[in-house]
Symmetry: C2
Subunit: 326 residues, 2 copies
C-alpha cells in the first residue's frame, strides 16, 4: 500500500495539532501517511503541547519508519506560525503543500491526498484564485467543473447539489442538469470507491413535505422528478423526491446509500446532528483520491491542544479505503 499525503493546511489553524495527534492514533496500525509541512514548526508545536513526536524528514514519500516517527516532506514557512493569527507571508507554503501533494498523487507516488483546513481569505490576499481546495485540485489535475462534495459519516452519506451559495441563490441555481450531474457522480463514486455495485440513491425534495403536490412549491415536479425519471431510465436504483424532514430518520436511512440533497444545510444539518466528530469530506470526480476533515481552521482553539483529531483520522482511513478499491 502506497502512503497517503497529508497537506499542511493553514499553519495558524488546528491542522498541525491534528496532524501530530493523527500520527499518534495511526502509528501502530496505519494507514501510514507523509505530511507536507515545515518540520521545524511541527517540532515546536509538539514541544508546546508536551507531545513526544519524533520527526523523520524524508526526501520522498517514504513511510517505512512510520511506526516510530512522523514522516515529513519539508515545505518551509516564510515566517513562524502563530496560532489563531493568519499570516499572508505563509500563504505560498500553504499552496505549495497542496500542489506537491497533488503532483505526488498524479505521479502515483502517494495513493491519496488528505487536506488539512485552509483559510481561503488569507490565501486570496496572496493571490490564490480558487474558491477552495476542490477547484484548486480540479485545476491541478485538469478536471475542472466535474466535482461534487460528499460528506460521509458512519451514519449517513450526503451529496449536496448546490454548495457554497446563499440559500436564495442556491435555489435559483437548481436545475435538472445539476441534480443529474450530482447524482451520477455520486452513483459512480459509490460503485468505484465504496464497493457498492448497485448503490441506492434517495433524492430529497426542496420544499417542506416535498412540495405537498405543488401546494408548497413546484421545484419537485418541475426540476427534481424529471431528474429522478432520467436516472431511473439509466438503470439507477433511485427514489424520491422525499420529504426532507423525515428522510434522515434511522428507518429511512436504512433504505438508501446516499442522499442527494438540494442545498448545503439540508444535507449537513442531519449529518452533523447525527455525528459531529466523524464526518469526512470526500471530493468526487477527481482523478486522484481526496478527502478532508469536515471542519475549518478553528482559530479560536488553535494552539491550545484541545482540537479533536477524530475527523482527520476518519478522513485518512477513508482515503486509504477508497485508494485500496481503485
Amino acid at each position: 500500500m502506497r502512503p497517503l499525503a497529508l497537506t499542511m493546511g493553514d499553519p495558524a489553524g488546528i491542522g498541525g495539532e491534528l496532524t501530530v495527534r493523527a500520527w499518534l492514533a495511526l502509528k501502530a496500525g496505519g494507514p501510514a501517511f507523509v505530511v507536507l509541512d515545515d518540520p521545524d514548526r511541527l517540532r515546536a508545536l509538539a514541544a508546546a503541547l508536551h507531545l513526544d513526536i519524533p520527526i523523520d524528514e524524508v526526501a520522498t514519500p517514504d513511510v517505512s519508519g512510520f511506526a516510530s516517527a512522523l514522516p515529513v516532506l519539508a515545505v518551509r514557512l516564510a515566517v513562524p506560525a502563530r496560532p489563531g493569527r493568519p499570516e499572508p507571508a505563509n500563504a505560498k507554503a500553504v499552496i505549495a503543500s497542496i500542489e506537491q501533494a497533488a503532483r505526488l498523487a498524479m505521479a502515483g507516488a502517494v495513493s491519496a491526498v488528505v487536506t488539512n483546513p485552509i483559510n481561503k481569505a488569507a490565501l486570496y490576499q496572496a493571490g490564490f484564485a480558487y474558491p477552495g481546495h476542490t477547484e484548486f485540485l480540479a485545476a491541478l489535475t485538469g478536471t475542472d467543473g466535474r466535482q461534487e462534495m460528499m460528506l460521509a459519516s458512519p451514519e449517513l452519506r450526503v451529496v449536496p447539489v448546490t454548495v457554497h451559495a446563499g440559500l436564495r441563490d442556491a435555489i435559483a441555481s437548481l436545475t435538472t442538469a445539476r441534480i443529474l450531474a450530482a447524482a451520477r457522480t455520486a452513483a459512480a463514486a459509490l460503485r468505484r470507491d465504496f464497493g457498492m455495485p448497485r448503490p441506492r440513491l434517495a433524492v430529497a425534495g426542496l420544499n417542506p413535505h416535498a412540495g405537498e403536490g405543488g401546494a408548497l412549491g413546484d421545484e419537485e415536479t418541475r426540476l427534481i422528478e424529471p431528474a429522478i425519471a432520467a436516472l431511473r431510465a439509466e438503470g439507477e436504483d433511485v427514489s424520491g423526491p422525499w420529504p426532507p424532514d423525515t428522510m434522515f430518520t434511522a428507518a429511512a436511512r436504512a433504505r438508501y446509500d446516499v442522499a442527494i440533497c438540494m442545498y448545503h444545510d439540508q444535507g449537513l444539518i442531519p449529518l452533523k446532528t447525527l455525528d459531529m466528530a466523524q464526518g469526512v469530506n470526500v471530493t468526487l470526480g477527481l482523478p486522484i483520491v481526496r478527502t478532508s476533515p469536515d471542519h475549518g481552521t478553528a482559530y479560536d482553539i488553535a494552539g491550545q491542544g484541545i482540537a479533536d483529531p477524530t475527523s482527520l483520522v476518519a478522513a485518512l482511513r477513508l482515503a486509504a479505503e477508497i485508494a485500496a478499491r481503485r
Copy 2:
C-alpha cells in the same frame, strides 16, 4: 386536575387507533382524557384490532371512570368510516369535534385540547375555510394571527419562523418583525408553560455558515441580527445567528432551550432525525392549551393496527404538564 379533550381527527386516518392505544397506555397512570368521537366507530375499530376497549359514553367531560373505560363525548359520523378512504360526508363531524373541544377548553371544562390528525383537503371539499387546525382554533378563540408552532421532543425544541410555504416563498416572507414575533411568543411560552424563568433562545442563520460574513447571503445582517439585537434589548437571553449545520449537535443543544428556525425543514430535519417518534406539536399564542402529534393521517397504514401512538401519548402528557403550569 381537569381532563384533557382529544379530538376525533380524520376518521379514515390512524387517529382512532391512536386514541384507543393511548387510552391503554394512560389508563393506569393518566393523564385522563375524554375523546370527542363516534362511540360506535371506536367500538368497531377496537373489535377489528382485537383490542378490549370498554367505551364509556359520557354527557360531560367526566373522566372519573378513566381507569376502566375510555370516556367518549359522542360526535356521530354521517357514514361509517373506512380506513384510508376519506369521506366528505364525515367532514362535518370532524369539524364539530374540534369546535366542541375548543368550546369546552374556553369554558374551563377541560384543561387542554389535543388534536388527532386531519386531512385538510377532505375538509376543504366540505367548505372548511382554514389552512389548518391552528387557524381554526385561533378563530374559535378570537386570537387570529398571533400563533406560532413549536415542535418539542425530549432532545430539542424548535419554533420555525416561516412554516407552510415553499422554501422560496418562505425566504421571501422572512422579516425582522416575523423573527421577533416568533421569538417573543416562544420566550413567553417557555416562561409560562415550560417553567423556565429565563429561557435561552438560539436564533439560526438562514444561509450556509450563517452567511459567512455576507459572502453567502445577507439575510443574517439584514434581517436576523437586528431581531437578535432587539430581543437582547428587551432583556432576553438570546444568541445567534448560528450556522445551521452545527447548532443541533448535542454540545450545541445543551446551550439553549429553544431554536428559532428560519424555515420549516431547518427545524424539523434535526428534530425528526434525532427523535422521530416523540415529537409533539404545541401551538403557542392561543388562550387555550393545544398540542398534537407530529404526524399526519397516515392513510397508507390506517386500519392495520400498526400505527405508533408514541407521539399522541407524548402530546397528551405535554398538554397536561402545560395545563398544570397555567
